[in-house]
């Protein structure tokens, strides 16, 4: 089962926020979580809590009142995080583009990693986007695992990290 081994690395938890969509994409996300498409086999669980989630699923073209909440939720998700924009109106504004209370897509406010087109985005596309999001998530978490890149090579004593030498390096870096 080479296909599934890639997904076992991480079971991403999903936070869903409706930033002014028409419900079309939201019910498709529910359908994707349901038994026919069954996102849960990849370990995806829909949580309501931003502090426990990895992937941020946003639907809707961002209305004037929802943008503060959108940014607030985004900043509460711990790193590494992936933002998936579900639906045409989330990516560009779609049919709502230019309406007076609409901000034309979420990438004006938060960085987006995966865009999903479609009105409404089909569950198959949402699954594809989440699988793509997993790759991004893996790449991002690798970057976080190597913070010592900043300070050149890692100082080792035997096969252990030398804390003293690393601390000296950090001190040197801060002086410069």
């Amino acid at each position: 089962m080479k296909f599934f081994s890639a997904f076992r690395k991480k079971s991403p938890w999903v936070l869903h926020y409706n930033a002014g969509s028409c419900n079309g994409c939201d019910i498709e996300i529910l359908a994707a979580l349901g038994p026919k498409f069954d996102l849960e086999r990849f370990g995806v669980i829909n949580t309501g809590n931003p502090k426990q989630s990895d992937i941020f699923l946003v639907t809707g073209p961002v209305t004037y009142r929802s943008r503060e909440r959108l940014v607030e939720l985004y900043s509460q998700i711990p790193e590494p995080k992936v933002v998936v924009a579900v639906g045409s109106c989330t990516t560009t504004g779609g049919v709502f583009r230019g309406m007076y209370n609409v901000e034309d897509g979420i990438d004006r406010y938060i960085p987006v990693d995966v865009y999903v087109p479609g009105c409404a985005a089909s569950p198959q596309l949402i699954i594809d986007a989440l699988v793509k999001g997993l790759d991004v998530l893996e790449a991002k978490s690798k970057e976080i695992e190597h913070p010592f890149k900043l300070f050149g090579t890692i100082e080792m004593i035997g096969n252990k990290l030398s804390r003293l030498n690393m601390a000296k390096k950090v001190e040197q870096h801060e002086k410069n």
Partner: protein, 361 residues
């Protein structure tokens, strides 16, 4: 010392599909006051319908007011414009439009049942109903080409025709679904743990339903006989086996039961439509520009949907006014919350089947 505590629910919450914020004034576990804020998803569709889009395009724009009852929105708008153009659709078009509206009602009611079950803590029941719902989604995709936002209705007709293969598919899926709905009716009626969460919870009395202008399944569960399908004669519902479904107790159980029995009735209507589909064109020329004012009422899954369209003989309309069922039913919803336990609030809320993107537009 202050006797009550305020508990907020929303605008982002696991039990909510859409942003709505409630402020519950609680005394211990009992809710004694509710304040609701529904305007998070206001986009300004009504204004854009008169400024940015021509009247031929508006039908597809108003469908994006709500994804769940998209077809009823485009149907009501199309009916209003066709009234202004002095055009009346032939029987085949009427039947096909009715078919999609009833299919949409089935899938919307099933989503509401699933969501109510999830919010009351029955995760497995949620999955079961969502799985059964896919039968209807498959039919919708086969007929219209899209699962949710099917732009099936256009001014002067419908966009795709019925074929014998589709007829066979619809018959097959409705037959499969009908067994599952029968099983669900038995489950909702007899299951003991479901009855603890549903029976006697969130009661709306008949008097309150009348006073606070409840609509749709919410009103019919309380015994208030209001259904636009019975009141208007835009569509031949009476000849196709439509029945008014009424319950009397007005609690969550009654609302679920109204929905379940309406699904059964809608399946009956769908079968009758397919068996008695008249012959004719599916797209006819509706010429001219809308001039004057027209009012249309259509029964959406949540209640009466009201459209006012005013044109002045130009390509752009003068006014499009949309009054959605959830907007009218908000006072009744507020009344139901008072006196119930806070722990039941998400299930009660889901049992109203609220549609905020309809309400805020």
């Amino acid at each position: 010392m202050k006797k009550t505590i305020q508990i907020p629910l929303g605008s982002q919450h696991i039990s909510l599909l859409e942003p709505i914020r409630f402020k519950f004034e609680c005394e211990n576990e009992k809710i004694i006051g509710v304040d609701a804020d529904v305007g998070f998803v206001h986009r300004g569709v009504e204004l854009a319908c008169t400024r940015s889009f021509e009247f031929k395009q508006v039908g597809y724009v108003v469908a994006r007011v709500c994804g769940l009852c998209a077809i009823t929105h485009s149907l009501s708008y199309t009916l209003a414009v066709e009234k202004l153009l002095g055009y009346e659709a032939n029987d085949r078009i009427k039947y096909l439009r009715m078919l999609m509206v009833e299919l949409d009602r089935i899938h919307s009611h099933m989503l509401c049942l699933a969501h109510t079950a999830e919010n009351a803590g029955f995760e497995a029941l949620f999955m079961q109903i969502m799985g059964d719902r896919e039968l209807i989604m498959d039919v919708q995709e086969a007929i219209s080409g899209n699962r949710v936002q099917f732009d099936y209705i256009s001014i002067g007709g419908v966009n795709r025709d019925m074929t014998p293969e589709l007829t066979a598919l619809i018959h097959k899926n409705l037959r499969l679904l009908s067994d599952k709905i029968d099983a669900l009716i038995g489950l909702f009626d007899n299951n003991w743990s479901l009855s603890l969460k549903y029976k006697g919870v969130g009661v709306l009395s008949l008097k309150d339903a009348y006073t606070y202008n409840a609509l749709g399944p919410l009103a019919r569960a309380a015994g208030l006989a209001t259904d636009v399908r019975a009141e208007t004669n835009d569509f031949p519902y009476e000849t196709l086996g439509y029945q008014m479904i009424l319950e009397s107790s007005g609690d969550i159980h009654a609302r679920n039961f109204v929905r379940l029995r309406e699904i059964v009735n809608s399946m009956e209507i769908c079968r009758n439509i397919i068996d008695n589909l008249p012959v004719g064109e599916i797209q006819e020329k509706a010429k001219g520009k809308p001039n004057g004012e027209a009012v249309v009422r259509v029964e959406a899954p949540r209640g009466e949907l009201f459209y006012l369209v005013r044109g002045n003989g130009q390509n752009m309309l003068e006014r499009v006014r949309i009054k959605t069922p959830t907007f009218s039913a908000i006072p009744a919803m507020m009344e139901v919350f008072k006196g119930s336990e806070y722990a039941d609030a998400p299930a009660i809320l889901a049992s109203f089947d609220p549609c905020m993107s309809c309400t805020a537009k």
